[in-house]
């Protein structure tokens, strides 16, 4: 099963009486680029949180790189190869751009505390390696010119890119991007989508991309999963999904007289 990097099986998330995500299934192969779409409030971010360990799934199993991670903490899941960004950017605001990225490199090549205290050769070498790697990533995203600035001082679009760099720095097998294009204009969005594609090619990661605007991901996704009210209403090739009446209904609303989708029965 090593050819599946991320697997969600019958994942359900309940908060009190509310079922935010119902029987969610997902299988991501290496280098695959999958879009997770759905209208606002469909449960996309909940799915992300269940996958990345922010929440422990109420039911079902999540595995990353073939290892079941139910109930594991996000930091352990990150080390197994799942990295994510956040819908409402969560950078380390007061740290420099470089430190934001360097921090995420720490999973690889962290030296022991005593080495840091005695400034051993190994410690210095590792720090230098980390810095080098951070700059490589920043270069790729055209951010290295700003490496010494405070993360919070970057313009919005760059902050989004920096979050992606930071996620990449953890050396993931799967990159989960939560609405990376939110708040961007059409040109910026198009550039970002191209960039995401390029990231996949260069780093060989699988990408799971959340987006509520379906058109944005059509072009680059190989596969789409559509959520509505916590329920997976469709999945498959973008062209097929686009024509699916259920998806059209979910996005355009239901006309009078049609039975609305009932998340409990679906």
């Amino acid at each position: 099963m090593s050819d599946v990097v991320l697997l969600a099986k019958n994942v359900t998330m309940r908060f009190g009486g509310l079922t935010a995500l119902n029987d969610f299934n997902l299988e991501l192969k290496p280098r695959e680029l999958v879009g997770l779409i759905g209208p606002n409030g469909a449960g996309k971010t909940t799915a992300f949180n269940a996958l990345s360990g922010v929440y422990a799934p109420t039911e079902g199993t999540v595995s990353v790189g073939g290892e079941v991670v139910n109930g594991r903490r996000p930091n352990e899941i990150s080390r197994l190869g799942l990295a994510r960004t956040f819908q409402n950017i969560r950078l380390f605001k007061k740290l420099s751009v470089l430190d934001n990225v360097r921090l995420a490199c720490h999973a690889k090549g962290k030296s022991e505390l005593w080495q840091a205290l005695l400034l051993t050769a190994e410690h210095e070498r590792r720090e230098a390696e980390m810095e080098k790697r951070a700059f490589e990533l920043l270069d790729f995203m055209e951010l290295s010119g700003r490496a010494d600035e405070e993360a919070a001082s970057l313009p919005y679009g760059m902050q989004r890119r920096l979050e992606i760099v930071r996620a990449l720095a953890t050396g993931p097998k799967v990159l989960c991007l939560d609405e990376p294009a939110a708040g961007m204009n059409a040109t910026e969005t198009a550039a970002l989508m191209k960039l995401i594609h390029a990231i996949r090619e260069k780093f060989g990661v699988a990408v799971l991309l959340i987006e509520h605007d379906m058109r944005l991901v059509m072009g680059i996704s190989e596969r789409l999963v559509v959520l509505d009210h916590g329920v997976t209403i469709a999945q498959g090739k973008p062209e097929a999904v686009r024509k699916d009446p259920k998806v059209i209904e979910a996005y355009l609303g239901v006309e009078e007289g049609h039975a609305p989708l009932d998340p409990e029965k679906a």
Partner: protein, 319 residues
């Protein structure tokens, strides 16, 4: 070669401290010792309250643990046997005592830290304050620790050199940690815990490490202090003392090592200058705290080091 570089601050510091000790008149020496202990306390508390963004109000509790341990050890070691050099024996005993104090304080930090670090912000503050008081009440009830009156007649081991080395060690450790992955992990916990976890940072471990390390140095400060005033009593370690240290950290800027150091020095000297106005001391402290929070809540230097604010920015790396 590397070891030389690692120990460079001490190699430079030691002769300087000897010179200061030789030159300083006794009145100044008292102030210097107090200032040095305050630097140790402020910089070590900063590891928790500044770098990691947690809020401990229990620093004096760890001081107490270190102070009592060190006092017990030096008293047990006693005077140098006839065939020993007294200088060697005394300094050896003191080194052992201080290390012992740091160790027990660190253990206390671990014992307090593991359960309470699940809590956040203001709750953590109150719980650490609670532990501070529990430690104090516990000591007051221990007859072998001298109860409420404490233990007097400690040997006068603490000198300007000792305190100076302690302060230097604290600052060097803090600096090197912040410059390493470990330090960046602590900072990330302060900045955004959820994001830090998503980046693979074990936030719980980070907090515990910061807490233990901070407690160890509080223990060092405690051990040094009581071997100067030659008396160890629970009254020196109430949460009022903890809050005094918090004021220094807050004043200097939470997360700034140089800020905390400077604040500790300035406050010690300022308070010494108004010695006659003893009753206004705590009033000044509290007013300072309120005014500072209202006008510059990040502290005078914020999270930055002094030179970062003074000097020009480091050259931008080539793209």
């Amino acid at each position: 070669m590397r070891l030389v570089r690692a120990l460079l601050p001490f190699a430079v510091g030691l002769p300087a401290l000897w010179a200061i000790q030789a030159a300083a008149p006794p009145q100044l020496a008292i102030i210097l010792v107090t200032a040095g202990v305050n630097v140790i306390l402020a910089v070590s508390l900063n590891m928790v309250n500044g770098f990691t963004g947690q809020f401990s109000l229990g620093h004096a509790g760890f001081m107490a643990v270190g102070a009592y341990t060190a006092a017990k050890i030096t008293l047990a070691m006693g005077e140098a046997p006839a065939n020993w050099s007294p200088w060697l024996w005394n300094n050896g005993a003191f080194t052992l005592a201080l290390l012992g104090g740091m160790l027990t304080a660190a253990l206390a930090g671990l014992a307090v830290g593991i359960p309470s670090l699940r809590l956040r912000g203001d709750y953590l503050a109150i719980v650490t304050l609670g532990f501070n008081e529990i430690i104090r009440v516990f000591i007051e009830n221990m007859r072998w620790l001298g109860g409420a009156t404490g233990i007097s007649g400690l040997p006068p081991y603490t000198s300007v050199v000792w305190v100076g080395l302690g302060a230097l060690a604290t600052v060097v450790v803090a600096r090197r940690i912040v410059g390493s992955t470990h330090g960046r992990a602590l900072l990330s916990v302060r900045e955004d815990e959820v994001a830090a976890e998503a980046m693979g940072v074990d936030t719980v471990a980070c907090k515990v490490h910061a807490f233990v390390l901070s407690a160890a140095f509080a223990g060092l400060g405690g051990g040094l202090l009581v071997h100067y005033i030659l008396l160890v009593t629970p009254k020196s370690f109430t949460f009022v003392k903890s809050i005094e240290v918090v004021v220094m950290v807050v004043l200097g800027g939470m997360g700034s090592i140089s800020g905390a150091t400077l604040a500790a020095l300035v406050l010690t000297f300022a308070l010494e200058l108004m010695r006659g106005l003893d009753q206004y001391r705590m009033v000044m402290y509290s007013l300072l705290l309120v005014v500072l929070m209202l006008s510059r809540p990040t502290g005078i230097f914020g999270t930055k080091e002094i030179w970062e604010l003074l000097g020009p920015k480091r050259k931008k790396a080539a793209a």
